[in-house]
Symmetry: C2
Subunit: 209 residues, 2 copies
């Protein structure tokens, strides 16, 4: 079996184990067993638990970013672009709960080096959202286009809102009202971010045209 395939199997097993057990409790024995390889082979290919975890964070961060960026078609109107991006984000988080746990919980709670890996991905998403907002404001011929700092602030707000909702969705599983779906979460955030509370409170809603 080629090395790349073996490595992918090891990382699949690692994401699953880190995501479910947590970084500390996860053992290299368990990861090797789940991947169907020997423990020495895991060390040979991925060196240490720290490096394996770092590789997992990078791979899953990349996958999440790619899912969002691919979903957004720049020729669509701004609200449709945002809707597509949000839908892709929540769908990806829901379909890959172990990866989400690695990125959102484990990587942030086990020391600075791992946290910095996630912060780098977050920076890319914020920049992507900021670019989208700038392009939208230009297209709308906004009389007072938002300043660079305003745009970054808005992008930070949107990304923070999305993270918070995704965490809430993942925790809502098994609750009495049933899980919140990725689609519901995307719709809630789209209404919040696009329509705004002022109009939402009066009963307005965003809907795809």
């Amino acid at each position: 079996m080629p090395r790349a395939v073996r490595e992918r199997q090891m990382m699949d097993a690692a994401v699953r184990t880190f995501g479910r057990r947590g970084y500390r409790a996860a053992s290299m024995d368990e990861i090797a067993e789940l991947a169907g390889v020997s423990k020495p082979l895991v060390y040979l290919y991925l060196h240490s638990k720290e490096e394996l975890f770092t590789a997992c964070i990078r791979r899953e961060a990349e996958a999440l970013l790619t899912a969002v960026e691919r979903a957004v078609e720049p020729e669509l109107p701004a609200d449709r672009q945002l809707w597509a991006g949000l839908t892709a984000f929540f769908a990806h988080a829901a379909e890959h709960p172990d990866a989400w746990s690695v990125l959102h919980r484990q990587a942030r709670t086990h020391g600075e080096p791992f946290a910095l890996e996630v912060a780098a991905m977050r920076g890319h998403i914020v920049a992507f959202v900021a670019g989208l907002l700038e392009a939208a404001a230009r297209e709308a011929g906004s009389p007072g286009p938002p300043g660079e700092r305003d745009v970054e602030g808005l992008a930070q707000a949107l990304v923070g809102a999305a993270e918070s909702l995704a965490a809430w969705v993942n925790e809502s599983e098994g609750e009495s009202g049933g899980a919140v779906s990725a689609k519901e979460a995307a719709a809630t955030l789209m209404n919040f971010a696009w329509v705004g509370l002022g109009d939402l409170i009066k009963g307005e809603r965003w809907s795809p045209r």
Copy 2:
């Protein structure tokens, strides 16, 4: 000196040390010295580093919650209530950077028990915001008042956006463009959350009436 006063001095010193050095690196020696007491007295009153840290998290969570709740006057229109709450939140975070670091960074990155303390406070804030939104929708005689789950989702989005912005503001200090002020951050979030990106992009802005 009464015990309550001594304890407050110890906790002031602890918040400052945990906030600046981080939970792990902070030493009980340093905390005792900064508080101007002996180390045995810190242990006598607050038992262990874990319990001292937990006491700090609780005190600072309570202080942040109180600052927000006190600022919001229920007889004001909903947007003014939100504006007052956001302004108080960002001002409190800016004026107490060590406390913010304890709550937002340290408590979340050093194990489940501490993280749960912060999660409890976060739950209170989300419930408070949800109550505000529900009251506002009722007052507006909204034709389709948002369901309980929608309201919680919106509150989660708003709280996540506020956390993200507050972290960004605290990190922006010392950057070339100068620090983002608490007032600017509150205005950015008010525009985002109240007006919505759809109208913001067209150049609309919220302003206090």
